[in-house]
Amino acid sequence: MKIIACVKYSLDVSEMRVDPSSKKIGLDGVPKRLGEIDKVVLEEAARLKEENDGSLFLLTYGPDNTKDGLKEAMAMAVDEAVVVVNPFEDTLSTRSTVEVLAKAIEKIGDVDVIVCGETSDDGYSFQVGPMLAERLNMPQVTYAKNLKIDADHLIADRDLEECMETVKASLPAVVTVTELSNEPRRPTMLDALKAKKKKIDLWQTEADLGISNAQLEELSPLRATDIEGIEVKRKQVLINGKNAGEAIKELMNYLAEENVMGGQ
């Protein structure tokens, strides 16, 4: 059973700040790391591998220093990793990413299950998983947990808003997981050091996958013309010196404006 876990070396959004004067989001020096959701992806894939005596590939598309961020990931039962190097500075679009991942998966070949996160920590588009299923023409189970393989079918629970839907999909299939799908194992530092010996392949989009830069750009016609930062600062409005009744009246006004009293 061959399993591929798709992960992303993503920007740590909690370290990004909006410059109060220019309103621009500072991207310089923002650290990148494997996202929280990517650990869940690896855990789900690792579990599937261990339960079904399979092999686990880690696949990622990113800058060439992505290798450095994979130290602990490799200790999560990964057999081999493939890093496809992004020839551009940033991710151009979800469609170009999906094309690259699809070609890489086809090159790895004979895949049974592809596990992705429902979205990435920084892009937050929720697109790559389903788009990948569409591109590879494979069935898909989104928001999955409790994955099981039964003969050549995949059974999983989909964690939807109002219900838990148990579905059965034929293999090969693409699966996306949410951050709550499992509790990832935490490899120790020593596990990570022992995992250093494992193979990490570096592939080039053009040379290894036959995708030219022009093709990637063609798949990315839409670029943001502007990104304005929202300063999420607490308002620090202090209601002081009033009696309880007046204070509450003022508060209720604010809360109505904020539209947070929906409740029942």
Binding site: D12, S14, E15, M16, R17, P31, R33, E183, R185, R186, P187, T188, M189, L190, L193, K194
Partner: protein, 695 residues
Amino acid sequence: MELFGVFFLIGLISFVLLCALRISFWFKGQDIKGIQQKALPIIWNRKGQLFKELFSEALTVKKYRKKDRINGSFKAAFVMAFLAISILYQIKAQFAPQLEGINWFLRIFYAPFVDFLVLANTNVENFTVLDAFYGLASDTFAVIVLSFDLTLLIKVFTRKPGQFKVNWKIIFTTYHYHLFIFSRYLAEASTIMAFDVPTGIAQYWYLGFGLAQVMVYLNIPLEAFHYVLWSINGLALGLMIASIPFSQLWHIVSAPANILRRCLLDPKDGGLPRGRSLTKPFDLMEMIESENFDIEIGANEIEKFDWKQRISLDACMKCGACQDACPAYAAGRDLSPTLMTQALQAKMKTQFLKEFLKRPEDSKELIGNTVTEDTIWSCTTCAACIQACPIDNVHTEYLMDFRRHLIANNQMDKQKVNVITAIADKANPYGLPKIDRAAWAKDLTVPTVADNPESDYLYWVGCASSYDTRNQKIAKSLVKILNKAGVNFSILGKEEPCCGETVRRIGDEARYQEMVMENIEVLNAYKVKKIIVNCPHCYNTIKNEYPQLGGNFEVIHHSTLIQDLIQQNRLELSNEVKQTIAYHDPCYLGRYNGEYEAPREVLTSIPGSKLVELGRTKEKSFCCGGGGGNSWYEIPERESISGIRVTEALEANIDTLSVSCPYCISMLEDSLKVKGVEKKLPVKDIAELVAQSIN
């Protein structure tokens, strides 16, 4: 050879063999050659110190006397008298005319019973002053022994419920020792009666003599039994000696051996009072370079403790000083350092004995059997146990080895995983963004080391004072002080890492070493030489533990710095702070580093202040409960450790409780809030009080 001599000889031989067996337990599985090569030269070099220690500790039990004056003094008297009398008997045996015809070697085995022969064969003419002296010495020895026994007995009766003291079980299992004493004086009496020893001679053996009078008065024909009684005495002595290796009395051998172990600790190892900086269990760099990651980390079996730890276990005499001092125990946590040490001692004895007898036990695992996980995580590493221990055992090191084992085997609960992950990813235990680390300083004049590379000092703010809103006030106060005094300093700003102490105390040694090596590189890149800290944990780690990994910096706690600034008149403390203040000694500044005076001098320099002491103060200070990673996870307890401490503070009639550690502030303030009295007793760092006093 008389029967008593034979018993004694057999006893001695048994003792030697059993002693060798039990000593072998300390070295089982250890690299003996390596130990010989490394340890013996050090011991030889320190022989002067060693003899001094043996004299003061083994003979006069100095530290134990400090802890328990009465029992300790009698014990010292007992030990010294025992040695004296043994030597005297040997000398007597060698020169006693009553033993003529017996070769000198055999005379050794007659020595304890020489009184029998003297009394049986002496007449008034050849009775010298020396003989009289011997008689007095012999029976005075008995008096000392009986007095010591009495103090032990009193301990049994004065034991408070739950308190760890001598109990009936101990008294009973040393029956042969009591048999030896009582049979001896009965034997003396009986010999006096049997051989009609003239009063002029017998009176010097006053106990035996007195007893003889009583026997005569009671018409008990004790004289018929004198040979039997001496034989019983010999048997008792033989049994007593033979039992030493596997009974309560083993400490006779293990305690001096422990002194040997202690003299191996280098007082220069971190410049600490010995045993207080954590030892380095392995070297990560070496592991990486040799690519050998299969080493055992931590301990879950007795055999994984090294020989020094095992000697310490054996030397424990259950005095209970550590338990009395332990804050975790006082809070009702599942940790008693005494019980833990005793349990490990017993386990070592039974497991290795059974292995020797080829009947090994099923389970060697300690965690879950001899100690529980709650026990392991209950420790705050406050070192009160080490401070209190009369034989300088390092109880925390066993707990650390257990923790290292749990971490290495990924057996941590979510809380601990979270805090380690937070420190690993975000360089602070709160998991807050690195970019905000210096946000506390944004409205102040605080240059970063990049802006001010020629600064004299680096102010290492630490995670608590950087991120915790309450503790940020300490950093702000200290900056005010430094600027007022014109100190040329800088901070690392958002590049400041976590010092790593929490990671190490939770037991993730590998991650700790990796972090610290990176930290040292950062500090060296900025050519940092002197570091000011306001957190004793950062202080202890950077000062005493970073050198283990190649980082050597001069670290100054802010209390010392402020004291210097005041003495140099660089600070004008003009505003009065009219408060009665008590200072709570933080564990990592006080017990770990011996700094008690500087903070007090700072406080007394503040005009209007009145400094008083809490009940448990200085080296006996009661932990706030925040150390050893404890502030980051929950542990079952009856009441909180900080709750106990604030109760003590509240009863002390003070206006302000002063500390010099951010953990202490958080823990103590939290407890006051829970009790609803935080307005009644403010908790302030000394920097805050000084800042209040300057303009």
